[in-house]
Symmetry: C2
Subunit: 319 residues, 2 copies
């Protein structure tokens, strides 16, 4: 009964129920898994877009402008923003305030910032679960916005149907420094702030790197779209490129294949997180801690202790 | 017999045996765990130093200069360098060449670069195992050099007795962008290239951030050491600060405590990696893949599939 009401409210797009459902996910509540099972059959219709890139590239501005663009087409947009920026800097907070003033009071937009601190590991699982909630709540477009630093953040950006990597002309050396990961997950690039000097060179450099990747004539070749998001320039081009990528996936029977790949990763994460919770129950942690001193003093190797813990885990899990 | 010879050669500091042992670790060979058990009793005397920071801060130069400093004190130095920089950029390769010319041909120095690509997750476990090999091979100082981007890389830097975070004056905004993680793992900071403009402001900014952290009069307060590593300036100050931190740990009964903490993390990683290997054996992966399409089409939820996989894992693990 309660479940039915919850599901109806959520499917109606009720904002309070949507927010509450995501909170259940965030706190890692034990109800989370059963809730996700109930929601799941009503997901799958939203198109999911990942937006990532180095700090300061303008990801939030692009997310906001894209949101306004989709709203003008009467599509409902859900945003999941993940930013591990230090609580010291306040950068994210300021961005949030600007964003709220910009698009936050539109009933067709739902914005959720997810904290990363202390939740590393389970983070991309939570973000994808939250996207399922928004999907079931009838949002047509879901934008994952994450900073392109760290594996968890990249995992979230990768969980999308289309993944966009945002760069700026000055990031010549940030491209240098960038983990290869960012290059490999981009379905296309946005060169934002492209009125700044060095823009043409940045495009040439990026294209050179892209040409070095193994590819054939049937491969999707990531394009580079120029934008000045703060002036709303290039946003329609970005939306067009998203559409072109979607068409490519569909026309080449890659759309469901890709979702299967993402699902594989997701199921792996769910399984591992559950086993980890079982594994590091209080009893096991205490028994490990009791042996740590022996390891540090050299009379027991970490590998022997690991053997012991695995045996005790086997006994525990089958009870 | 063979084991004895291997162990003797390793303890003698034989370079070929040392290199081979690390290769066994890197390939994830099944012999790796038993080798580590044999080696372990001969570890524990090396002092381990983590050096991390954003790309371009001068970590390699500091590592090289510190190595030369310790060599002048007749200490043997092992270096484990982990850099996930894209193979596209060539930055790491160039650095390696400079490094080899500088310190690579000294018999008292052993340098090993570890690849990160494709080995995320197990990476910090492998780096710490490699440090054990160097420890058993009689190296007095082990330097972990990693770029401060991504959880795995931070985990490696944290695996040390003393962790140093290298910054440059221009990283005002890189401090901004920096994940709080870097702030929290630093036992002290090195402000490298400190002859550049903005150096004093960077120190003030850093101190302000540090003062905001919870601390009392008994806490270790991270210092900021200035250096110009390329001119060999400030290197002795860095070595002195490492020594001061070591003394602090010893005088406050924190040295073994800290090693226990690191060991706890390490044992957890070993256990999880082993269970992961058992979990994702070919059979389980195939059975998962067979169900993926159902999940994508909505007739099975990822959480139900996870349930099924966990049940099959339980049956499997107890056989």
């Amino acid at each position: 009964m309660l479940e039915n009401k919850f599901l109806e409210k959520l499917k109606d797009g009720d904002r309070r129920y949507t927010a509450r459902a995501i909170s259940v996910i965030e706190t890692g509540d034990s109800n989370s898994a059963s809730m996700m099972k109930i929601i799941y059959p009503y997901t799958g219709s939203a198109y999911r877009i990942g937006i990532t890139g180095p700090p300061g590239a303008g990801k939030s501005t692009i997310t906001n402008q894209l949101t306004k663009f989709y709203r003008s087409q009467n599509k409902r947009v859900g945003i999941i923003a993940v930013d591990p920026t230090s609580p010291f800097t306040g950068g994210a907070l300021l961005g949030d305030r600007v964003r709220m003033a910009d698009i936050g009071y539109d009933e067709g937009v739902f914005i959720r910032s997810m904290a990363t601190r202390g939740s590393l590991g389970g983070l991309s699982k939570k973000a994808v679960d939250a996207a399922d909630v928004l999907d079931a709540a009838g949002f047509d477009i879901i934008l994952f916005e994450t900073v392109g630093v760290g594996q968890s953040e990249l995992d979230i950006a990768k969980a999308a149907d289309t993944t966009i990597v945002v760069l700026v002309p000055e990031s010549g050396d940030s491209v240098q420094a960038m983990k290869a990961g960012l290059m490999e997950i981009a379905d296309f690039f946005v060169l934002n702030k492209s009125d700044r000097p060095g823009s043409d060179q940045a495009v040439v450099a990026l294209n050179t790197i892209l040409m070095m990747r193994p590819h054939d004539m049937h491969s999707w070749m990531p394009n580079i779209i120029r934008s000045i998001a703060s002036e709303n320039k290039g946003i329609e081009d970005i939306a067009k490129e998203i559409e072109r990528h979607f068409q490519y996936l569909k026309d080449n029977d890659k759309f469901l294949k890709r979702r299967e790949e993402k699902t594989k990763f997701r199921v792996k994460e769910i399984v591992e997180e559950r086993l980890r919770a079982k594994l590091w129950n209080t009893e096991n942690v205490l028994s490990m801690e009791a042996s740590l001193q022996q390891v540090v003093l050299g009379s027991l190797s970490p590998y022997q202790l690991a053997d012991e813990l695995i045996i005790s885990f086997k006994n525990h899990i089958t009870q």
